[in-house]
């Protein structure tokens, strides 16, 4: 037989094989397509959602060349006189304010800049026109919505007699949820600009910087601004690399599982005289066919999903994302990965399968089990290496660190993957007391560990990346949240002359647990401010009901004993610039939701003995009232409160729900994507194994297992393998996360993402169990004819 006809015969068998088992081929195909789709979709989404350097520079500079800040806070006019005369400058004003409409009041940032001047691009006009005259404002869409405003409507900024007209809507393109009030810079009430933007020709930049710095200004130049997302870059690089390796593992598992099944067929081919090399080549040929189809499908799905998500991205990550675009290099890379991983993945099991003695391959029995000892050693070494690399990465910085983390991630996944057959074997020993369906699942997985190990590894690989992302997200969250919200989600703040009456009336309408006036503390007319770690706020005076309204559910005792109740031990009180040295007795308590603003409470008696007096909180003229509900405040509650408040002039309502806007950062999107991918991988991989259980199902059926047991049997198998993979994915995912976090230029505390871990350990295996059960239940009861499945 010539080599050509030899290969032709084998290729025909391969193609028939794809035809003959369309369901299985489809599963293998999707196991290739899913990681490719995730990589293509992920890289496209990352490209769209991440601010480019140009966008980052625009956010800070508009289209100006320089940004000048003045630590002395001089009047705009004075500043201009100090600057080199040839410099074209423009002031930008920033302060905070409240926007009032009848019945409502919301905090906002008050900005004054020229939308078409040098500041162009810092904010974007979305509707209407920019404010030009006095008493004209543009406000952000989220405020418009919360305040039920429209263009042409009127608001006031604290002075009910000074009504402003809303002429347009503006938004911060990098933070769409930022509440903004934009005024024309020339009519901004404050005369201290926050900073100046300046423009000069390229040749003069350095001279201008010199000139400006000499006069005591702080100046930053546009061209000096580097990409500030170095950490994100490192994280993305690691995640993408991790994704590549995981994709390769998942694809490899798909081939390993399908080849084990064909052991006998390979034996038959061998006995019919096909050369081992020929068989390997034909198996590789089918791998290439599947991989090409899979990569193509993956690219289509990945781009398709990204395109479908594109219109919704702005709402998710709260920025104006760029147009839909993808990088051909990323697509080609993902495609090449699919092919390379499939071929590499097919080579190893194919060689293993062809090397199996024909006699054993033909017997249809499982190949003699080589001790998993070698794999235990390899796995342990790899895990140890992963830990060592992680420790090395924690100490290193830059590219070395990034590469070490990637290597640690890969070693971790491979190491835990290599340990999985051994683990399956060990666990199988404890299966005896389990109920039948689980016993079968655990025992089978242990006895056929060479077939089930890859499935566990696929699940592990699919989930590890989610664990990594989840850790980063949890650790970043406090930082991303930035300033803690000023109100808890179960609080309502009433401001204005009728605050007390409104509070009383609302207590009848809503499930209010506590209401109290929120009075700050003054010492000789100066407010007593408070700081707790990096949180700053002020001291308030009140009784038990204020404590409850603030969220402290105990502490009355301490208050009546004259102690100050605060959220932490390190409370520092200040009057003006002076830190109080008095020995205040503190009763630290941790309220369940941290809020800024009032961060310590003092009792009335103690207040009197201290010689202090109550007064309105900072930047307010009247004492507001704080209500706390038994449950989170809903929009309906706020509407009701607004109606009550609107009865009296200038009385307004505020609640956290008015500020809340769900914001998904890059990591959130990545987590969502990787969890979905992981779930699909679990489903597909376990579906592949449940095909393996067809023979068992036939025996069980003949022995008289009820249909329900057959379903449980399939489901238990899927659930068990998914669970094991998920368990292993947690350490495998923690390793790169532990390495990555110290790379951030801010101090991030490593915190475990308990909800995600719980979802991974319990939720996903349950989903795997339930969905397999459901599929088995939906499948029409197969015509129960005895067909020994090989």
């Amino acid at each position: 037989m010539s080599t050509w006809s030899h290969s032709r015969a084998l290729a025909r068998i391969e193609i028939r094989e794809l035809h003959r088992h369309p369901a299985r081929s489809l599963l293998v195909l999707s196991l290739i397509a899913i990681p490719v789709a995730a990589l293509v979709g992920g890289s496209t989404l990352a490209r769209i959602t991440r601010p480019t350097l140009k966008e980052q520079r625009t956010e800070t500079f508009g289209r100006a060349t320089l940004r000048i800040e003045d630590p002395r806070r001089l009047e705009a006019i004075a500043v201009l006189e100090l600057l080199p005369p040839e410099l074209l400058t423009e002031p930008v004003f920033l302060s905070s304010t409240h926007v009032h409409v009848p019945g409502r009041r919301l905090a906002a940032q008050h900005i004054g800049l020229d939308l078409k001047g040098l500041a162009e691009g810092i904010l974007v006009l979305q509707e209407g026109r920019p404010p030009v005259k006095p008493r004209e404002l543009a406000i952000s869409p989220n405020l418009m919505q919360s305040l039920h405003l429209q263009i042409g409507g009127t608001v006031h900024l604290g002075d009910p007699n000074a009504l402003h007209t809303v002429v347009g809507t503006v938004a911060d393109p990098e933070a769409l949820d930022r509440p903004l009030v934009l005024a024309a810079p020339e009519h901004f009430p404050d005369s201290h600009p926050a900073y100046l933007l300046a423009e000069t020709s390229e040749r003069r930049v350095s001279r201008a910087i010199e000139g400006v710095s000499e006069n005591g200004f702080l100046v930053t130049a546009r061209h000096q601004m580097e990409d500030t997302r170095g950490f994100e870059d490192a994280a993305l690089f690691v995640l993408a690399g991790f994704g590549f390796v995981e994709a390769a593992l998942v694809i490899s598992a798909a081939f390993a599982v399908s080849l084990r099944r064909r052991q006998r067929e390979i034996g038959l081919l061998g006995s019919a005289g096909a050369s081992p090399r020929g068989i390997t080549a034909s198996l590789l040929a089918s791998a290439v066919i599947l991989a090409t189809l899979g990569a193509f499908l993956g690219i289509t799905v990945g781009l398709g999903v990204a395109a479908l998500l594109h219109p919704h991205l702005d709402q998710w990550n709260g920025r104006l994302n760029g147009p839909f675009e993808t990088s051909p290099i990323h697509v080609a890379g993902a495609c090449a990965l699919g092919l390379a991983a499939s071929i590499a993945a097919a080579t190893i099991p194919a060689r293993g399968a062809t090397r199996l003695p024909i006699r054993i391959a033909l017997s249809g029995r499982r190949p003699p089990v080589r001790g998993s000892g070698k794999w235990v050693l390899v796995g342990t070494l790899l895990v140890a290496l992963a830990l060592a690399l992680m420790v090395a990465a924690i100490r290193a910085r830059g590219l070395t660190a990034t590469l070490s983390i990637l290597a640690a991630a890969v070693c971790g996944v491979l190491g835990f993957g290599a340990l999985s057959p051994w683990l399956l074997e060990q666990l199988a020993r404890f299966a005896a007391p389990l109920p039948l369906s689980w016993r079968l699942a655990v025992r089978d997985a242990g006895r056929f560990r060479s077939r089930n190990g890859p499935v566990v590894t696929a699940v592990l690989a699919g989930m590890a990346i989610s664990v990594t992302i989840a850790v980063m997200l949890t650790s970043l969250e406090p930082l991303l949240a930035g300033r803690a919200p000023s109100l808890r989600d179960d609080q309502i703040l009433l401001t204005g002359p009728a605050a007390e009456e409104c509070a009383r009336e609302l207590a009848r309408e809503l499930p209010v647990t506590a209401r109290a006036p929120l009075s700050a503390v003054y010492s000789d007319g100066q407010i007593v401010s408070a700081a707790l770690g990096d949180r700053s706020g002020f001291l308030v005076v009140g009784d038990a009901s204020l404590l409850r309204a603030l969220g402290y559910d105990s502490g009355e005792q301490a208050l009546s004993e004259g102690r100050i109740v605060s959220a932490g031990k390190q409370l520092e009180l200040r009057i003006g610039d002076r830190t109080l040295e008095t020995s205040l007795q503190l009763a630290p308590l941790v309220p369940d939701q941290p809020t800024s603003g009032p961060i310590a409470v003092i009792g009335r008696e103690r207040l009197a003995s201290q010689g202090w007096a109550p007064g309105p909180p900072p930047r307010q003229e009247l004492t507001p009232w704080l209500l706390r509900l038994r449950r989170p405040v809903t929009e309906e509650d706020v509407d009701l409160a607004s109606v009550v408040a609107a009865r009296s002039v200038s009385t307004t309502v505020d609640a956290a729900v008015l500020h809340a806007s769900p914001r998904l950062g890059m990591f959130r999107i990545a987590l969502l994507l990787s969890m979905t991918t992981g779930l699909i991988i679990i489903f597909v991989a376990t579906a592949l194994t449940s095909m393996e259980s067809a023979a068992d199902a036939a025996v069980l059926h003949a022995v008289g297992a009820a249909p329900a047991l057959l379903r449980r049997h399939t489901a238990a198998r899927a659930g068990y393998l998914a669970f094991l993979g998920c368990v292993l994915s947690i350490p495998a995912g923690l390793i790169p996360a532990a390495g990555l976090l110290p790379q951030a230029n801010v101090n991030l505390a490593f915190s475990l993402p308990w909800p995600e871990i719980a979802a991974t350990l319990i939720g996903l295996p349950l989903v795997a169990y339930a969905s397999t059960w459901l599929v088995a239940a939906l499948r029409r009861p197969r015509h129960p004819r005895w067909q020994p499945a090989r």
Partner: protein
Amino acid sequence: MSEHSKTVIRFLDVERVHGSGQQAVRALGPISLDIGPGEFVAIMGPSGSGKSTLLSLAGALDRPTLGRVLIDGQDLDGLSQRQLAELRRRVIGYVFQELNLLPGLTAIENVALPLELDGFPIAKARAIASEALAGVRLQALASRFPDDLSGGEQQRVAIARAFVGERKLLLADEPTGALDSVTGELVMRLLREHCDRGRTTVLVTHDASHAAWADRVLYLRDGLLFDEVGDRRPPVGATS
């Protein structure tokens, strides 16, 4: 007592057609048949004569296209999938040519399987299974996995599983097909002993020397009952 209680298997004008329309193939029938308690019946016939179809029907693994099949007095047509499963695990024991055992269970667990499926506590199921294994003289290998047993031992475990409990009907589909003659004879001896204890056995085989262990031999050809040898009652004494 009704007449049904006297027959373990009753086929009334049974037909089984696979597929439909142009592609319909009649695999069996019309055929009528009664097999009583304690009978050992062998079914012979060339390949494709409907032997296995008949056995699937008798094993409640399949339903007839036409006619009625009554197993232990129960009409298969009136039973749900769950009731069919119950019938299979309480009344019927099945031995196939190969791949009888679940590879993930030990020999004794395989034997205990129908009992366990039937809700017996594990310890009790194992005690009964252990007796059944002793019946096929395999108690020493109780904790081995199927892959570690020879073909003959696997068949004996399968037979023990088919015996276990108080089941009335044992169906064997070429149980000796993959075995050598001496091992095959041991399997036949076990089936015969089982039958002599009053249980019904139906054996499908193309091997006359194995069929000769039965009291009655049915010949099938083209799905029809074509010939019958032997007496309804087990013959007494030997002829020379």
